[in-house]
Symmetry: C2
Subunit: 239 residues, 2 copies
DNA sequence: GTCTATACATGGATAGAC
DNA sequence: GTCTATCCATGTATAGAC
């Protein structure tokens, strides 16, 4: 009977639900988060939830959509940054994506472990696919410029971009699992970096770009990430 | 009250359940298949199901396990086929995997569409990960041989093998969705093949192998697959 | 050891009150 | 537009027959 919080106290109910859902999905997992947990966190009833979303999967799409859109915002201007060379643009692109990821790992040194659990494959999959869709045209444009200027030697820009993104994502997944596992199993940091170099080198070959030209900052990023994971939560996230 | 089939008529109950589960998962999807549907198909009760499996996810693991093991059986001998060159071994490897896939598509020109639906990401993920685990050492051994003989120029064999498998899987996923979509959207066959060449070419670069050396039969395979999809089910699968 | 019958809790969904 | 009350499917667990 206890009536949840009054409506008047609420502003962006849908947004609050998305926020709460993401916090729960990333700490408990998707399947393990009942709709009830989401509404409890916000102080709403089930009916309200189903008023804002078509179902549980719908809120997952909203969560994913919000994150990818944030990323998209950061990268969409890169092709038109006339002070950067194509290679610099690519590095800027990579940098934007991984620093965004780092920023969103604050809530979640724990979350990495959760998100990469089997049952949460659906989250990763939706994220990857949406990111692929939205980022491919941007990266393709950069590649096109590089080909025109003669600094890249690659095939069809769209396909090439897609492949690069695929690799970059696979690398991220691999590195994430490497870093998480490194706490138990102690694989050498050297070995992990070495593996990353293989991926980066492959991207260079695909682009027909010189060795060690892609993402030279990567080593530093990994170090940061490792520090973040070691020291537990980096900072608190209130809302 | 109606008592299902008697026990005496049964031989490999667990196997029957796995079989039925796979048929249902691949036609209706994982989430959309209640445990009840599986036991109905076999003529058993719920208790029996929970006698053989710890839960629904357990039967999915069994399904995936069985398929990957079948594939593993076909490829594990390849590194020791002394009449083949390393490059031939790699092609044999690829061929084995994709012809196995084709063979298991008989039940399922329909299944492709189902398996690639969002909600079934968990099936694909489990499949890919198990395949990666089991196939990497085999492919790595072949690569090691190639490096020793000087026909490949690649880095650490395990990492290289993993990357190749990753690409091969990504290519398969891409091609599957291309071919399925081709029924509505009419993307040119040319474009699809072209995309495949990009993946194969990348694998060659990773191995440091000559162009067009990997999987020259691929074009033919794709044609076969396309025929299979066009003409609906290819053959019936009784048990 | 193998299975039937059944009970139960959970949680996704909906109808309709306010 | 917001929420309460309710329904129902389904995953899980168990007691006990054969």
């Amino acid at each position: 009977m206890a009536r949840p919080r009054k409506a008047e106290a609420r502003e962006d109910t849908r947004g609050e639900l998305i926020e709460a859902a993401w916090r729960l999905f990333s700490t408990a997992g998707y399947d393990a988060t009942p709709v009830e947990a989401i509404i409890d966190a916000v102080g709403l009833s089930k009916g309200a939830f189903y008023y804002y979303f078509n179902g549980k999967e719908d809120v997952l799409d909203a969560v994913v959509g919000r994150m990818v859109d944030e990323m998209a915002l950061e990268i969409e201007g890169i092709p038109r940054m006339s002070d950067l060379s194509p290679m610099e643009k690519i590095n800027r692109f990579m940098e934007s994506i991984s620093s965004w990821k780092l920023a969103h790992l604050d809530i979640l040194s724990e979350a990495v472990k959760v998100i990469y659990r089997d049952e949460n494959a659906i989250i990763r999959y939706k994220m990857n696919r949406k990111a692929l869709r939205e980022f491919t045209p941007v990266l393709a444009e950069i590649i096109r410029q590089g080909i025109e200027e003669g600094v890249f030697e690659a095939g069809e820009p769209e396909d090439t971009a897609e492949l690069i993104l695929l690799l970059s994502n696979a690398m991220a997944e691999r590195q994430a699992s490497d870093l998480v596992r490194r706490e138990e199993d102690s694989e050498s940091a050297q070995r992990i970096l070495h593996r990353a170099q293989l991926y980066l080198g492959t991207m260079e070959k695909i682009l027909g770009a010189p060795a060690s030209s892609i993402y030279p900052l990567y080593d530093k990023r990994i170090e940061e990430l490792e520090q973040a994971l070691k020291s537990g939560k980096v900072k608190e996230n209130g809302a």
